[in-house]
């Protein structure tokens, strides 16, 4: 199968959906000629013109509000939010306006929009350009949240997001834009709420989102050399969450580590770990562990930044302890 980059995959998904449905349009800063700073949208304005690939001023709450209104009245906007960190600026439009319209109207209104943005540290971009804020929006009922872990997921999830009748937030890892993966030429969609078992194993389940899937897969290879067979699962969407697949896996392995790049406290890892505790407690041989980013603003210095994110070595160490039956108590 041909291999394309995550960036190309997103670009293809948008182009295909824009060809298929003329109500789809893109709105954001430097999305047209510049094709975004990450060049993800390059070429789209040439095909679809500036009426469907619209450059905005640096007015994030404004253009997200516009997207909400356009979506409520018959369009399918895809908003480009240049950095995930800017989600704080648009919280009212996203969480009070987009997320709640359908419910508040008793099902009469709907907001079929996509907010595509990014996440991920270690790009040496410091505290306001490196955050992974998926937990913030996953907390809000009415929003769906997708976290592609490769080019394949990025394309399939984007297409599903655009056709979904709800506001969907997609977090792409900005360090993965140039990563290649096999992506079929023919059309495919990835349904929301279907986890992907990336690797099977009997001893421990590693549940990981976005780029943390790679971290988990590397850890699994290292663990295999020690005779520990790790199962790696990518939920692909954290809202909706495919609980079923996660629970079945943990029933089998009886141990789990949940890995996500958001801050560890009050985060995605906590939510998933808690569901496992509630639903498969009696199958567990060890506490479910969370591994998130350290609870600090992301520091600029490489010497510090690298310490803040989960690593394969860290996962291996924790998995080893869980499998050895060592109880782990946080200090």
């Amino acid at each position: 199968m041909r291999e394309i980059t995550l960036s190309q995959a997103v670009n293809e998904a948008l182009a295909e959906e824009m060809r298929r449905d003329e109500t789809v349009f893109i709105l954001g800063e430097d999305v047209a000629e510049a094709g975004t700073p990450f060049k993800v949208l390059s070429g789209l304005v040439e095909e679809f013109g500036t009426d469907r690939v619209i450059d905005t001023p640096i007015s994030e709450p404004g253009f997200v509000g516009l997207a909400v209104g356009a979506a409520m009245t018959g369009a399918r906007p895809v908003v480009d939010l240049m950095f995930g960190d800017f989600i704080y600026l648009v919280m009212d439009q996203l969480c009070n306006q987009a997320a709640k319209q359908h419910y508040m109207s008793g099902g009469k209104l709907q907001v079929p929009m996509v907010l595509r943005t990014n996440m991920g540290a270690t790009r040496r971009s410091a505290a306001q350009h490196s955050q992974s804020l998926q937990a913030l929006v996953a907390h809000i009922p009415g929003l769906k949240v997708a976290m592609p872990s490769s080019a394949y997921e990025a394309k399939g999830l984007m297409k599903t997001a655009i056709r979904d009748n709800n506001p969907v937030v997609i977090f792409e890892d900005k360090l993965m834009y140039q990563d290649k993966a096999p992506v079929p030429e023919e059309e495919y969609l990835i349904p929301f709420g279907e986890a992907n078992v990336k690797r099977e194993g009997r001893d421990i389940t590693l549940i990981a989102t976005s780029s943390m899937v790679q971290v988990a897969e590397k850890a699994a290879v290292m663990l295999a050399k020690e005779g520990i067979e790790a199962e790696v699962i990518d939920p692909r969407t954290i809202v909706p969450l495919d609980e079923e697949t996660l629970l079945e896996s943990v029933k089998k392995t009886s141990r789990a580590i949940v890995i996500d790049e958001g801050h560890q406290s009050y985060g995605v890892t906590a939510e998933i770990a808690s569901r496992l505790n509630e639903k498969v407690f009696y199958h567990l041989d060890a506490p479910v562990l969370r591994m998130g980013a350290m609870d600090v603003p992301v520091p600029f210095s490489p010497a510090l930044e690298d310490l803040t994110v989960p690593t394969p070595e860290g996962v291996v160490e924790n998995a080893r302890k869980l499998c050895a039956g060592e109880m782990i108590h946080a200090a």
Partner: protein
């Protein structure tokens, strides 16, 4: 070049030489920073201030250490102009422990806080509230310091600005909004993202507004001196639109940029409106400095920068235990 309204006294000459020196220090800092990026010695990206020196220097030379500024993602110039040293700045740029922010901030958060710099900000328009809040504090506490809020033309699209301008005008706060209009925000021309007139927006709140040639350090400095003096007396807020130009790309990695900005346009600004070349000619013409003295000053600044870079390259990174330090104040 605007003529100086005041007579060229001895102290004026000193002020002028310091302004020239500060502009060259900024340009030299940026040249070195760019080199660090190109030789892959600098982590991440950075936004160069080259071309806009007269704005930061003209303004900051009209301020005291008690006056505050808020800076932007393009903040090295403001940082130097508000009194920072090369050594700590290069250390910060390289993420070293001796940097102004102990390596935690990097280029986009660089600031010498001890001289009243409240920080560079990676959120466009993100400091508008901070600057206005600093001015509110000055008024509430009866202190006569003034806060200058630097931001770009692109930042005028942020709604926050209109909220804080309203309050600043209602309450006559000692804040000066300094819009560095360099004609672009990222890869987009200002006229494509700004409807109507930017000045008129401030004027709509009853805020006295001025447009000034941002390549003319004396014009910037004279206007700022007047506005600062008035702001201290409770006559603020004010708005300044400084017409300027950035020589490099939006950031150091923005190299192929002809699709949004022509080489001819860049050349025209560099050749015909450079703030340093213009001011240098003025200094010589007015007999304030000779060519030789200026060359000597330039050379000294280059040596300073080279030494600071060498120092920063060898300086240690912060130790691992600093990673969770400074999350909360004691």
């Amino acid at each position: 070049m605007a003529k100086a309204a005041t007579k060229k006294t001895k102290s004026n000459a000193d002020d002028y030489l310091r302004m020239y020196r500060q502009m060259v220090r900024i340009r030299t800092f940026e040249d070195n920073a760019n080199q660090l990026y190109l030789s892959a010695k600098m982590p991440g990206l950075t936004h160069m201030y080259s071309g806009e020196e007269a704005v930061a220097v003209g303004i900051c030379e009209a301020l005291t250490d008690d006056d505050r500024i808020t800076s932007t993602h393009r903040g090295h110039g403001h940082c130097v102009a508000k009194g920072a040293e090369f050594k700590e700045m290069f250390c910060e740029l390289l993420g070293k422990a001796e940097g102004y922010c102990r390596g935690k901030g990097g280029s986009m958060h660089i600031a010498d806080q001890s001289h009243g710099n409240l920080g560079a900000n990676a959120i466009v328009g993100g400091s508008m509230g901070i600057a206005t809040g600093s001015a509110l504090r000055a008024k509430l506490q009866g202190s006569d310091d003034v806060t200058v809020c630097f931001f770009g033309d692109g930042a005028t699209a942020q709604g926050l600005w209109y909220e804080v301008m309203n309050m600043a005008a209602l309450w006559k706060l000692p804040v000066i909004y300094a819009c560095e209009n360099n004609g672009y925000s990222e890869y987009t021309k200002t006229e494509e993202i700004a409807a109507g007139s930017i000045m008129a927006r401030a004027e709509a709140f009853g805020i006295e507004s001025h447009q000034v040639d941002g390549q003319d350090v004396l014009a910037v400095n004279e206007l700022t001196q007047k506005l600062v003096a008035r702001a201290r007396k409770g006559e603020g807020p004010f708005f300044m639109e400084l017409m300027t130009y950035r020589y490099h790309g939006h950031h150091v990695g923005d190299i192929n940029r002809e699709y949004y900005r022509s080489k001819d346009e860049e050349k025209d600004w560099k050749d015909n409106r450079d703030p340093i070349i213009r001011f240098r000619a003025y200094l010589v013409e007015q007999g304030i400095a000779t060519e030789e003295e200026i060359e000597a000053m330039n050379a000294e600044i280059e040596t300073d920068a080279a030494e600071a870079v060498a120092y920063a390259e060898k300086a240690p990174y912060p130790p691992a235990n600093e990673v969770d330090m400074h999350v909360y104040a004691d």
